[in-house]
Symmetry: C2
Subunit: 133 residues, 2 copies
Amino acid sequence: MNNYTDILRAHNLKATPQRVAIAELLYLHGHISIDSLYEMMLKTFQSLSLATIYKNINIMVENSFIQEVKIANIKSVYELTKESHSHLVCNKCQNIEDISLDLHSIMSDASKEYGFRVNSTDLVLTGFCKNCA
Amino acid sequence: MNNYTDILRAHNLKATPQRVAIAELLYLHGHISIDSLYEMMLKTFQSLSLATIYKNINIMVENSFIQEVKIANIKSVYELTKESHSHLVCNKCQNIEDISLDLHSIMSDASKEYGFRVNSTDLVLTGFCKNCA
DNA sequence: CTGACTGCAAACGTTTTGCACGGTA
DNA sequence: TACCGTGCAAAACGTTTGCAGTCAG
C-alpha cells in the first residue's frame, strides 16, 4: 500500500480521509465506477455524501491524479493515473484489465499517412479474457 | 447523397422525415453530438422535440444503423455504422477524423501475451491534425 | 387502416451547487 | 486560525416515459 497522504499533497490536494480512501480503493481495484465507489466507502464513512465523491473525483481528474476511462456500453470508471496503457474489456466477466502494448508503429502510421501528430492514445479491446475465452 | 429511405427500411426503421434527416446529417458531417443534431434539425423541423432525437438515436443504435463514439473530455458523438476504423481527435480544431489503421499486430499481441480473444477495437488518437500541427 | 412515430409535458436519475459546520495544515 | 472539505438539501441537467394526435406503409 502506498502513502497516498503525500501523493495527494503532491497533487495539491488536501489529504482528507475520504480522498485517501478513494486513492486506496482505486489502487486495490484498478477501475471503479462512481456508484461502486460510493457503495464501498459507505462501509467506512456511514455519513458519506455522494456530492463529496463527485467533488473529489472532479478535482482529482483536474489535477491528473486520476483519469476517467470511457468504455462503450458501460458506465465510466476511474483509475489512478499511470504510464500509458491500453484496456481489455471482457464481454463475459466484465472485467477490465490494463495491458501494455507497443503502439509506436500505429502512431507513426497515423503520422505518415494522415499528417497527424499524436499526443496520446486511447485503445480499448473488447472480447473474451483468458478465463472466459 | 445516398438513399436513406431504403437504407433505413433495411434496418427495420420506418423512414420518417426526421430519421432521414438524421442519416443525411451524419453522412454529411461525419460525427455529431445530440445537441448539434437538435440545433441543425430545428432549422428544418421547427417543432422538433428533443425526445424525438433521443428516441431515434436509441433505436438507430440498437439496430446498428449508427454508433456512439465515446471520446475522453468530450461529449459523445454519433456516426453512421461503417467498416471498422479508428479516430483522430485534434486538440486545437476539435475535428474528428476517421482513419484506417492496421491493428492486426496489436490484436495478435493481445492474444499472445494476455490470452485475450479480441472481438472489436476502439482506438482514439488525440493530438494535432495536419492543419493544426 | 393499423401500428409506429411525433411532440409535449412530466418524471426520472445523475451531477452540481450553496450553505453551515467541521477538519486539515 | 484560516481556509478548504464535508454533508445535506435543493437545484440543474440530461435522458426517458406516457399519452394523444398524426403519419408511414
